[in-house]
Amino acid sequence: MKLGLRSRGSRGRKRSIALWCGVGLFVAVVLLSILVPIFSAYGPNQLVAKPFQAPSASHLFGTDALGRDLFVRVWAGGRLDLAIAFIVVGISFLVGTLIGIATGASHRRWLDSLVMRFIDALIAFPFLVLILALIVVVGRDRSAWVLPAGAPAIIIAILLIDWSIYGRLARGETLSLRSRDFVTAGQMIGYPQRRIVSRHLLPGVMRITAAYAVADVILVIVATASLSFLGAGVQAPTAEWGSIMYEGRTVLANAWWVSVIPGVVLAFTGLAVGLIADALLNVER
């Protein structure tokens, strides 16, 4: 029996309010990250005032140990963090979804279990440990394209692990969709495997992996920041949320804002992304 049309509607409305709050917040973070470094009077590495000034009208987020403006540094850091996150998430999403759906839909069981055990092995490594090890291998001083020193190593290292989560998700969803009658119906009509995968399985699988991709943005940012915090990430003096927090660590008692403000910005970004992902996952469920 179908119950509660209105209640379904009001839940839907609440969900879309949450969705738009998330989208608004996220767009704000992205815009600030893009615009602030372009339009501000000074660069993120420029010494502009006395060290350790508390947040004020002239320096919204205060200044750090070297007298650099933290407002500019935080948003410049955001630009780098978001760029890394978008690159990693984009590639992981594509590669992982494709591999997952291909192994899940494949009739070769050995291929499926080989790929799955490999993914299990990758996931078994505490990701930070593996990334740290990989960074040593890749070489953390490398810079490439517009990316500053350290960033390429982070991207490659996180990518090597991150795709596997999408792969696992996509495979699981493929397996569950595959057993549904509409796939059987497609087989009976005579659709080739390729068409069944692309037209009938992919939309459903993408819904799951795309929702995870949104949430993954924040996970990648946190991982990037953690690496920088450990000193294995982006190299000084490049601004990055983790590295800024790391720099403020020793002066916590006197200049709390150096560490706390980037952390709060990070938390807000996470909230935005969480709201979006939550709303996406709950659609039509």
């Binding site: 549904r180 009658d181 509409f182 059987t184 119906a185 497609g186 087989q187 009976m188 009509i189 005579g190 659709y191 080739p192 495997q193 068409r195 037209r199 009938h200 939309p203 459903g204 039509e284």
Partner: protein, 314 residues
């Protein structure tokens, strides 16, 4: 004369050394024929339907469609179009991300190589024939009622212009009034298109309404077969009789019992049969009464014609 769809001694095991879901079932469907397959849950009727439909390869036995073995038919072979299926769960049978119109049009685009506009036009005509409104055609399964989804499923099958439609419990998830609509569509399709129909159902009355021939399955075996009217008019196999007596309003003079028999009894119904006797041990493949198309696999068939059915028929 070659039949449209034919199976011989089909056996299906889901696991290599597991129990047989279907054990040595044979069936034959001729053009324009309607065959009902009756049984309770676990009787193997749905599995058997999948074998007939060519989506499940049997572990043993032979399935032929128009004289060709199903196992040899490739995915894109046009002979696939011959056999189509409609399913029990009207929602699960449709791609949840495609509208009714797209679902049906996709078939035309694929098989007839039609342009999008042409395919949509044909799909709409077919859906309208199934009684779907214009508004409903644009909706996705989640926004349609169960009956509407089932109509879309039928339209999708018809888009292949099949010769046989296999309907696996097509109405058991639907209300009585909607069930009547769907059953009428199926009966109508036989008349207008000469479609053969295989109807799988646990509901004897539904099978009686749609099909002139019927199989009764128990534990993966066909225990009785014959023209539906004769078979239900005077069942030979005790299991068929029990099924009929269990229908509300029936007298229930024959009831399943619990016989302590060992494994490997040749009769699949021995454990519950009220007429079990010692010589049932010698039940062979060919045992049981026969009369034209009618066969029951039983050593002690019921000879009496059920009077009660006669009365209700009036």
């Amino acid at each position: 004369m070659s039949s449209l769809l034919e199976t011989r001694d089909v056996t299906v095991r889901y696991r290599q050394d597991g129990p047989a879901a279907v054990a040595g079932a044979s069936a034959r469907i001729d053009a324009g024929e309607a065959l009902g397959i009756v049984g309770e849950s676990g009787s193997g009727k749905s599995t058997f339907a999948k074998v007939l439909a060519g989506v499940l390869a049997p572990s043993g036995g032979e399935v032929q469609v128009k004289g060709r073995r199903w196992q040899e038919v490739k995915r894109r072979d046009p002979i696939r179009r011959t056999v189509q299926m409609i399913f029990q769960d009207p929602y699960g049978a449709l791609n949840p991300w495609m509208s009714a119109r797209e679902t049906v049009a996709e078939v035309f685009r694929f098989w007839e190589r039609q342009s999008r506009a042409q395919a949509v036009e044909q799909a709409e005509a077919l859906l309208a024939e199934m009684g779907l409104s214009k508004g409903a055609m644009a909706r996705r399964p989640g926004e349609l009622s169960g009956g509407q989804c089932q109509r879309v499923g039928i339209a999708r099958a018809l888009a292949c212009s099949p010769d046989v439609l296999i309907a696996d419990e097509p109405t058991s998830a639907l209300d009585v009034s909607v069930q009547a609509q769907i059953l009428n569509i199926l009966v109508g399709l036989r008349e207008t298109r000469g479609l053969a129909i295989v109807l799988i159902s646990h509901d004897l009355a539904v099978v009686r309404y749609v099909s002139e021939n019927a199989l009764v399955m128990y534990a993966g075996q066909v225990v009785e077969r014959g023209p539906t009217a004769d078979l239900l008019g005077s069942p030979w196999h005790p299991y068929t009789k029990i099924l009929m007596d269990a229908i509300p309003g029936g007298t229930g003079d024959l009831k399943p019992v619990r016989n302590e028999i060992g494994d490997g009894h040749p009769c699949c119904f021995a454990a519950r049969c009220p007429r079990l006797q010692a010589d049932c041990q010698s039940l062979s493949e060919e045992a049981g009464p026969r009369e034209g198309d009618r066969v029951a696999h039983c050593m002690h068939p019921l000879p009496e014609r059920s009077e009660q059915i006669e009365q209700r028929a009036q």
